[in-house]
Each structure stands twice: as structure tokens, then as C-alpha cells.
Assembly symmetry: C2
Homo-oligomer: 340 residues x 2
């Protein structure tokens, strides 16, 4: 498994105003630097395409430094070590922020060796055993603190995180109402077993929401904007609103639509709480073990949409915001990567 | 101290759209009912005028049932028992939701006998020892969880609750920045000892806020609207936003101005939390003891603005929303009430 002399990469070319355009990213093929003793060379096999990546390319104060102009686009990925060091050997499967590239020279401390537990595969480290799964697990259980018998509403419910949130909600005994576009509702109802799935684009959505939800204990929000504002009108006492993402706002050119119904947060003693999954890093092993167990027992289903080709990454990131995907979106980079 | 046969009262006549008008309340003098064995007759001495009362007259789902048309306006008050039962004797000073009336017949279980600790007076049960003081105490310490060395920003800082929040903040070692109208800033700085006081109506307010605050750990919000939205742009990691009130929104005829900067709640892992002080009722004794101790030690100052006359209550409630008061606003109802 020799390391090549050159590698293609896709880098940030200019910061987008609003949606990602053809000018946002550029690609090039360049010589791979020679690794030092602390570094390894990794072949990138699959990259994860996540809504949060839109935020990473804004020049704004946030939980991670912005990707710089000229820098390879940051992306969680799994890959295979092709040039090891004293910590990793050739053929090791690793996970880390490898980025949009064919090969990367990276510090050994920035990647983690991954040996999928029985019943799981390496790409599950980009799904339920990875960032989106950890987000669902800690967001719902630690921030949302959902309890049996409670009513849980999930927006962006068919997405990588939302689909795991729905299932953990059911496993914990909650009544789960999933919000998604019409074409995904049957998947949520029939495959993931939610109690109700509502088409958020329906002309009767507001009424459907009120009639079906009644009042809610936990709102796990991936969308923000109008849906968040609607949810705030239907809070039970001590309701928890988990702000996981706000996909409706990530591409806004001005400020996003304002949240008007915040007075109910006072009267219902509710809590709106944001979180970043990386803060729970020290507890990932516990969550990974639980998720692997659920997968093995057939209690946690996962669905991947796997696209191909490094050059296609920008357009798939862009498409994520039009709601085109169901389940976890990955792009397979290396033709030599294992098939799943 | 004989009970009169009749009593004047001010009752809700029609629900206001927006600001309280001359038609919102009416008054009448009517016969006092005969108390049963569980009831007492109380002469109303001082009523508390609070922003929250605006919410109590809306026909909306909230933490208390709405005051009904024809019902005496709800108001926390202190009074003197003029007709006792087996629990209360004539002359006892009591506190409760006596309402806007000269005399009330009320269940003994709905009032509490009050014996001010040394250094305090009965009206302190409408101030730091009462609802507004308890709101400041539990809101700042239990919801805001302010710690020494943190930056605390308080909106509506010269009001009954805000002024106590500022002082508890200082007592706990926080850097305290008070937001109020220009005329109240010197009181906050010189008498209450805040670190900075900013005029929220100044044309340079946004810049002043950024320059003076930097980034904040706790925002204790009595105002809502634009000030809340500005505060959200200046959150430190794990910041807590205590939603105590939203005086800017209480009289809105449409929906209040929306909160646009909620994405920072995610990136800074912040928490926006509403609370209702009544939920802490079981812990009032502990807070009252602490507040009385601080008052006695000269560490907690309080200021009252005492108006007179039952008929004046509606206009004082209305004036509360134009920012006219400094400190706790009371209306003295009975000419026989003790002077403070």
C-alpha cells in the first residue's frame, strides 16, 4: 500500500454569501509533504457531509476556528493508513477530520484507530457511532433529558442526527413526532417506528402540528426558524428545547427570521439549550457501546446515502440544504475503499 | 378595628389590546360578604405594582389563570386583619394576593402572617423579602448560577427585581453591568455599586454594550426584544440567559420583535431559561433569611416609590411600562396603614 507522491484536494476558495456556489471551492493536485515521525499518511475512504460544515466556512466566532481560504475543506472521514509510524501501521482504519482530499499527511494524535464492534462497520463511525450519532445521543439524553411517557418532537427527523434521535426517543419510551418533508414520512413511520410523521411543507402543517403534538416536553431542533417558533407555542411546563442545528438559517444572507414566541419560555419555565457534541468527547466510549448494542439487537436502524468522487463533495454539501437526502450522506473518495 | 360593611374595589372591565386604557379597569363600592370560619377580613394597606400583572389580564395559557372580567384585579399586597378566625387575630399583618380593594374577605390559607425580622419592615415583604426579591434571588442564583469573577448583565436594572439582582451579583463577586435609562444610571453606579451602568436609549448603546461588556456569562433579562437579541451576540461559552420578564413585549399588539441571534446559543453551548418564582415557594424562608441578613448588614439597599390611593392603581401599572419608576413601586391603599 504505497503512499502516492501527489494527492488531489478540494479547498475553500472564497467565503459564500448565502448558498454555496461554484466559486466557493476549488480543487488542485499537489505534492504530498513528507511526514515527520509524529505523522501518518492516510488514504481518505469516505467523508461525512454534514450541515454543520456550512458554519465552518463562515468567518465568525464559533466552536471551531473557521476554515481558512486556501485550506482543505474540513470534513470528518474514515480512511486507511498507507504510511504508518510507531502508533499506526499500514492498513489501520482511522477516523478524524481528514478533510476533502485523496490522501492526507496528518498528526497521529488527530486520528483514532477504529475497530467496528460486531454487527457494525467502519462507516458507522460516520453514522450512529460517529459525530451524528453522538450528537443524537448526548443531545437527547443529556440536554433534552427525555423521559418515558414524554412527548418528543424532532425536526429534520429524516436526517443523520434526527433519524437517530427518533429511535432513541422510542427506545426510551417517549411518544415521538417526526417532522420531515412528505417523501420521508413513510420511512419514519414504517421503518423507524415513530408515532407520527408530519410533512412540514404541508399547507395544513400548523394545524397538524397542534392537533398531533398537543403540547410537548422535548423539542429536538435541527431546523430553527418558523418551526422552532411554532414549537415554542406548544410547550408543556418545564419543556426542554434542544438547539442542535438551524439548517433553515445556515444559508441566510441577512439575519434569520426572528423567534417571536419566547414569552412562553417564561410562563412554562422552559429551557432552550444549545450544545456542541465535542464537549462530550470524554463520554463517547459509553455512547458508542450503547449504540453498537442497539444496532446489534436490531433496535437502531441506519440508512446511508453514499455518493462517489472527491470532486462531487461541494455539490453534495449544497444539496444537503435542499432536503434531498434521507439518512446519513457520505461521499466515497477512494476507489480502493472497502464497499459497505 | 371594625370591619366595614362596604368596600371599594377595582376590577377588570375589558381586556386591553396593547397598552392599558381608561376602559381596562373600573371601580365600584359593594357590600363585603360575610366571612365563613375559614376566612378572615383584611384591610389592604399597600399593594405591589408589578410588570407581571400586565400578563395576568391577558386571556392566555400561562402560569396563573387569567384575571376574569369583573374580577378584582390581582395584586400582591400587605394588609391588616380586621376580622380574624382561629388562625389570625385582629391586627395581624399579612401578605397575599389581596388585590386592588380596600378590604377583602379571603381564605386564611391564602394569606401569610408576616413579622419583619430586625432591620426590615412589613413593606419589605413587597420588596426584597417578597415576590420581586425572591425572583431576583432564585433567578440569579438557581437559574443563572452566577459565580465570582463572571460578567453579569442585568436589563431593567433599576426596577424592583433588577436592582436586587445587581446587588446580589456584586455580593457574589461578579462584575455587574446594569442597563437602564439615563436618569437611573447614577443611582445604579453610586448607590448600588454596579461596575458600569449603560443607558439603553443612547444612540451609541450597541457600541457601549460591546465595549463595556465584552462577552458575558449571565444575562438577567427583564426586557426582552432588541436588548435580548443584542446580548445573544455577546455570549461566552456556557452562558446562561435568565428570562425573568420581557417588559418590551407585554404591551405588544402583534407579536413582539423576533430574536434573530439564536445561532450563538448553539455555538456557545448557551442556555436560555425561563422561570416562575412561585416554583421556589418551598425555599422562600431560606432566601428571606439571607436577604434580611444582607439588609441588616447594610449590604442590600432598597428603594420604594410609594404612591397613594386605590383609584390610582391602574395608572401606576400603566406608567410602569414607560420606565417612570426607580425601585419598587407600591400604592398605599388604606389611610390607616402604617407609614414607612
Amino acid at each position: 500500500m504505497p503512499a502516492p507522491a501527489k494527492s488531489a484536494r478540494v479547498f475553500l476558495s472564497e467565503r459564500p454569501k448565502g448558498h454555496i456556489s461554484d466559486k466557493t471551492f476549488k480543487s488542485e493536485t499537489a505534492a504530498l509533504p513528507t511526514p515527520n515521525a509524529d505523522q501518518v499518511i492516510v488514504r481518505v475512504d469516505y467523508v461525512s457531509i454534514d450541515p454543520a460544515m456550512r458554519g465552518w466556512i463562515n468567518d465568525a466566532r464559533s466552536y471551531l476556528p473557521p476554515v481558512q481560504i486556501g485550506e482543505t475543506m474540513r470534513s470528518i472521514a474514515i480512511g486507511t493508513v498507507v504510511h504508518g509510524n510507531d502508533q499506526f501501521k499500514e492498513g489501520d482504519v482511522v477516523e478524524g477530520a481528514l478533510g476533502w482530499a485523496e490522501y492526507v499527511v496528518i498528526s497521529a494524535k488527530d486520528v483514532q484507530k477504529r475497530s467496528p464492534p460486531e454487527g457494525t462497520t467502519a462507516i458507522d463511525y460516520l453514522g450512529p457511532l460517529g459525530m451524528t450519532g453522538m450528537t443524537a445521543y448526548f443531545g437527547l439524553l443529556e440536554v433534552g433529558k427525555v423521559k418515558a411517557g414524554e412527548t418528543l418532537v424532532v425536526s429534520g427527523a429524516a436526517g443523520a442526527t434526527g433519524s437517530v434521535v427518533c429511535q432513541i426517543g422510542k427506545l426510551k419510551g417517549a411518544r415521538v413526532i417526526a417532522l420531515a418533508s412528505a417523501s420521508k414520512c413513510s420511512y419514519l413511520l414504517n421503518e423507524l417506528g415513530v408515532d407520527a410523521a408530519l410533512d412540514y411543507k404541508s399547507p395544513t402543517f400548523v394545524k397538524d402540528f397542534r392537533d398531533t403534538v398537543g403540547y410537548l416536553d422535548v423539542f429536538f431542533d435541527n431546523v430553527g426558524g418558523e418551526i422552532l417558533d411554532l414549537a415554542l407555542t406548544r410547550l408543556k411546563k418545564n419543556a426542554r428545547i434542544v438547539l442542535c442545528g438551524a439548517i433553515s438559517a445556515y444559508n441566510a444572507t441577512g439575519q434569520p427570521e426572528g423567534i417571536k414566541n419566547y414569552l412562553t419560555v417564561i410562563s412554562q419555565r422552559a429551557r432552550i439549550e444549545g450544545f456542541i457534541v465535542f464537549d462530550y468527547k470524554h463520554r463517547y466510549p459509553e455512547a458508542e457501546a450503547q449504540m453498537a448494542k442497539w444496532i446489534n439487537e436490531g433496535k437502531l436502524k441506519r440508512r446511508y446515502q453514499i455518493e462517489e468522487g472527491l470532486e462531487q463533495c461541494p455539490q453534495h454539501l449544497k444539496l444537503l440544504f435542499s432536503g434531498g437526502n434521507t439518512g446519513k450522506l457520505l461521499v466515497k473518495i477512494s476507489k480502493e475503499a472497502a464497499k459497505y
